[in-house]
């Protein structure tokens, strides 16, 4: 089997241009690898269409970097005539009649969609285990979780089954699996990427973002999917730069803040010391690094449970079986139809979150919890804004630890939220954040570092990330069959 998908997008582009390879070679390799790996990274494969497209592309002029590049799309992003399930029984037979805006953009570039990736059901989870289709496997170690909710996209990139992938991030769902699987995952600024066609989980937090093997691929993909979309009023009227221009820049004089909260005892020692190593490296190269306080970060989980779940309880109300999706077989009346359809269609975690969300919005609770949470959220955003008055970037670990064993947190709903204590604050503030692989622990499991930028300053994140990437030159391809 070939190994073209180990290469970067730019390298693949060069080979395609020189006609040393054809898109069909990449597509065939992708499907062969998926079959060989058997990681349950995909829910639906787009095999026939991808092959047809790849052949069609042979007649076309290669006009952009994503031309003929195999991509994977998380299964909560609508793809026309390609099943989109949200990893839920509720939508296991749902074939969208339209593409999401990001998918339109990928198709316009003639990127080739290989399939729809596995995920936690409706993006609710941080291990991939809440999927109706079962968890994806972590190519670094099959006993470990991939992280979630973008579990399949992380697994597919890590195993080099596709070149680039789209994930979505509501509380850490791109960054946490990127960190667990040793890849580069970016959650863009809220409003950077259109949410049109993304099945909503928490509308004020959700963002679609790139998950890639390296920083350059990430910048290329973000440049393509970003931009104002009249179909999403929350998408920003902010010009989209060519993010690759920010790569390979000097970091001398760059001012970087490290929140004390991110380096507390709660964080695994190996993870912390790896981040400290990076801090030393950055200082050596002329960056200014200070420890700072970002207030209200400690409320992140509470904010998440109130705001994200409140919104989710409303966003998931439309799944009633009447117009699309699962419909129960027998019912006595409309009330019975709702109860049975939703009880059967949704999994345990989704139901738990709908219940919590409904509760926090119910009656007086809306004032006690929801409105108060909005105030704390605003205060947290202000606290970040205060830091960005003096600093270019904020860094720290992406997660408290590395990938853990499958099944560990299955029965502890609260514990799984705690995976996200470092990532949620970024969503709450609407800031861009990246997880960048910076090394491995003693079990050779990847460690991710968090790089957070000011609004619409993804460019600075890329500058720092590409610098670190070049300094470390890590081998981020999991070794075949390795289970340390």
């Amino acid at each position: 089997m070939t190994n073209y998908l180990d290469l970067s997008v730019i390298e693949l582009h060069e080979l395609l241009k020189k006609k040393e390879i054809k898109p069909i070679d990449l597509v065939e390799e992708a499907f062969a690898r998926i079959e060989e790996r058997n990681d349950n990274a995909f829910i639906t494969l787009n095999k026939e269409e991808a092959i047809r497209l790849a052949k069609e592309l042979e007649e076309k002029e290669i006009d952009n970097l994503l031309f003929g590049i195999p991509v994977a799309v998380k299964d909560n992003i609508l793809t026309k005539d390609l099943r989109t399930t949200c990893a839920s029984h509720m939508l296991d037979d749902f074939n969208p009649v339209v593409d999401a805006t990001v998918v339109e953009k990928l198709k316009a570039c003639h990127a080739i969609i290989i399939g729809k990736t596995n995920m936690d059901e409706f993006a609710m989870g941080s291990t991939g285990e809440t999927s109706y289709f079962g968890p994806s496997k972590n190519p670094w170690n099959q006993d470990k979780v991939t992280g979630g909710s973008s579990s399949g996209s992380a697994s597919a990139i890590s195993s080099r089954s596709v070149a680039v992938a789209l994930g979505t991030d509501t509380g850490g769902s791109i960054r946490q699996p990127a960190s667990f699987c040793g890849l580069v995952g970016l959650k863009p600024t809220y409003g950077r990427v259109s949410r049109n066609g993304l099945v909503a989980f928490a509308s004020s937090l959700d963002q679609i973002g790139p998950m890639t093997k390296n920083v350059s691929d990430n910048a290329i993909l973000l440049s393509v999917i970003s931009g104002r979309d009249e179909r999403d009023l929350t998408s920003a009227h902010v010009e989209v730069p060519d993010y690759t221009k920010f790569l390979n820049q000097d970091i001398k004089g760059m001012k970087i803040a490290v929140p004390n909260y991110y380096m507390s005892d709660v964080i695994d020692e190996e993870v912390r010391s790896k981040v400290e190593e990076i801090i030393a490296l950055l200082k050596d190269h002329g960056a200014i690094v200070d420890y700072v306080d970002v207030h209200h970060m400690e409320h992140a989980i509470s904010l998440y449970q109130i705001i994200a779940l409140g919104e989710a309880s409303s966003n998931l109300a439309r799944f009633d079986g009447i117009r699309y999706g699962h419909l129960t077989e027998r019912y006595d009346n409309i009330e019975d139809l709702y109860k049975k359809t939703r009880s059967e269609g949704f999994g345990r975690e989704v139901k738990r979150r709908i219940m919590i969300g409904s509760y926090v919005l119910s009656g007086d609770n809306a004032n006690i919890y929801y409105k108060k949470a909005l105030k704390v959220r605003k205060a947290l955003a202000n606290s970040f804004a205060h830091v960005f008055e003096n600093y270019d970037l904020i860094i720290g670990p992406t997660n408290t630890n590395v990938a853990y064993d499958l099944g560990t947190k299955k029965d502890d709903a609260l514990k799984s939220f705690y995976d996200d204590i470092l990532t949620i604050p970024v969503n709450m503030a609407g800031l861009p954040g990246m997880s960048l692989p910076v090394g491995f622990n003693h079990e050779h499991l990847p460690i991710g570092m968090h790089i957070i930028g000011n609004y619409f300053e993804e460019g600075k994140i890329y500058t720092l990330a590409s610098f670190i990437e070049q300094q470390l030159k890590l081998d981020l391809k999991p070794k075949e069959g390795k289970t340390c």
């Binding site: 998931l316 009447i322 409904s358 809306a366």
Partner: protein, 472 residues
């Protein structure tokens, strides 16, 4: 003594080109599910877009009803499950209604009455459920049609006041041109809240809401019935239960729909898919400038001309006629104009079931006709004849008069000859005149006009006749 307290909630369908949260056409279609997009369908991944035209229309209403404006407003989700609600929530404005704290002035039995407006907000209509033996079907043409809800303060005490409020509100909305406001077709829907309290007490009684009121006159009827029903219960020592009732127009009674249980829990929260909308003072003033003269203002203006109440009310109730009157108002006699518009013209329109723009009559023609009538160059009977021609064929007033021999005779010599002839043929009337009987002159005038086939200039004939009789 029990005193009723009445508040009214009015839902009005706006006739914007597109729906409120999608670019789907906002229009009636005989074909089901014709005017809908994936947004109206509540499709996964679809997001609301906000139709700016709707905001301007709602703003017009707020300004016409003297409301304060929320210059920074957001939308909210009202969550509940119902098959006609595809998203499982309605996008409405709970916390920041576009307008609040306004009022409307109306007249009840010739007395002015000011009724407060609590709030005005923008929201979306639901689908239409069509129930049949085969089950329930949904028609999404109505889903997402823009609505404004106008909530009055509980400032009314009887059916008559409520009816006056609803009537005035309807005429204002009609004038703003933002809705068809047809209660019968559902583009205006009135729900009333009725409660009774002891006179002198601040504590309001338990209220009942009345829905399904199909006409403005039923607003008064339903309220009066409800007041009587509640009075009877209270006087019998019973308590009022909070209920939703509907008006049955066959029995003219309100009927129980459902008991209100522990208030509905709509789990309102700010709609995250629609960013805050900021209205600037400039935008608000621009809309204010576009406001037409409103019916209550028109009434004051018309009353000064000496126009009859009937003509005034008829013309105000019909914006098309009113627009014509307004255009001609300073050019020709408005009383004659109004009489023609609300008399022969309106009955012609009603008979033919058409509107003014469908006739051959043009404003310039009407202007000539009124001028001719005002100068008494033709009789009102001739005016009628000419009007009929203008409505059906159009034309020039002067030419029609020429063709029909309606040109006036003002030449002294000709008139004197006619007058002499009539005087000579009616010696007894001359006697009467000399005996001081006024009716003689009217009779002689009539004879002269008859002899001239109505063409003699009546003013001139009158002067000449008196002059000649005195010499006789």
């Amino acid at each position: 003594m029990l005193v009723p307290t009445i508040g009214i909630e009015v839902h009005v369908e706006l006739k914007s080109k597109a729906k409120v949260y999608s670019n789907s056409l906002n229009a009636f279609s005989p074909e089901a599910n014709k005017n809908m997009t994936l947004i109206d369908y509540g499709y996964p991944g679809s997001l609301p877009v906000l139709n700016r035209e709707v905001i301007d229309m709602a703003l017009k209403v707020c300004l016409a009803l003297n409301c304060k404006i929320n210059k920074e407003m957001h939308w909210d989700r009202k969550n509940y499950f119902y098959p006609d609600l595809p998203k499982g929530y309605q996008i409405t404005q709970q916390d920041t209604p576009i307008g609040y704290d306004g009022y409307l002035e109306t007249e009840v039995n010739g007395k002015k009455k000011k009724i407060g407006i609590e709030r005005i907000h923008i929201e979306e209509d639901t689908c239409k459920s069509i129930h049949s033996i085969q089950g329930t079907k949904l028609n999404f043409n109505r889903a997402g049609v823009p609505l404004i809800e106008i909530v009055s303060k509980p400032d009314m005490e009887n059916g008559e006041e409520a009816k006056a409020y609803a009537e005035t509100l309807r005429s204002i909305l009609l004038y703003l041109g933002i809705s068809d406001v047809k209660i019968e077709e559902g583009s205006m829907r009135c729900d009333t809240n009725v409660s009774l309290r002891e006179e002198g007490s601040d504590k309001l009684g338990t209220k009942c809401e009345i829905k399904n009121i199909g006409s403005i006159s039923n607003v008064a009827r339903s309220i009066d019935f409800e007041i009587a029903r509640q009075t009877k219960l209270l006087e019998a020592g019973e308590t009022i239960k909070e209920q939703t009732r509907r008006f049955d127009d066959s029995t003219m009674e309100t009927v129980l729909m459902r008991e209100k249980e522990t208030g509905n829990d709509y789990r309102y929260f700010p709609e995250p898919d629609i960013p805050y909308v900021i209205l600037t003072d400039e935008e608000i003033e621009a809309v204010r400038k576009e406001l037409p003269v409103l019916p209550n203002e028109l009434k004051m203006k018309y009353r000064e001309t000496g126009m009859s109440e009937l003509a005034m009310n008829t013309v105000i109730a019909n914006p098309e006629l009113c627009a014509w009157l307004e255009n001609l108002f300073t050019k020709v006699n408005p009383v004659i104009t109004a009489n023609l518009l609300t008399g022969d013209i309106l009955s012609y329109l009603n008979k033919e079931k058409i509107s003014l723009s469908d006739t051959k009559l043009e404003q310039s023609m009407l202007q000539d006709l009124v001028e001719t009538l005002d100068k008494k160059e033709i009789s009102s009977k001739q005016g009628k004849e000419i009007l009929e021609i203008l409505l059906t064929k159009g034309g020039n007033v002067k030419e029609i008069r020429k063709e029909r021999g309606m040109e006036q005779i003002s030449d002294d010599a000709t008139l004197r000859k006619m007058i002499t002839e009539v005087i000579e043929n009616n010696p007894e009337s001359v006697e009467d005149y000399k005996a001081g009987r006024d009716r003689a002159i009217k009779y002689l005038m009539g004879q002269i006009m008859k002899a001239s086939k109505g063409q003699a200039n009546p003013a001139k004939v009158n002067t000449l006749l008196v002059e000649m009789l005195q010499k006789y």
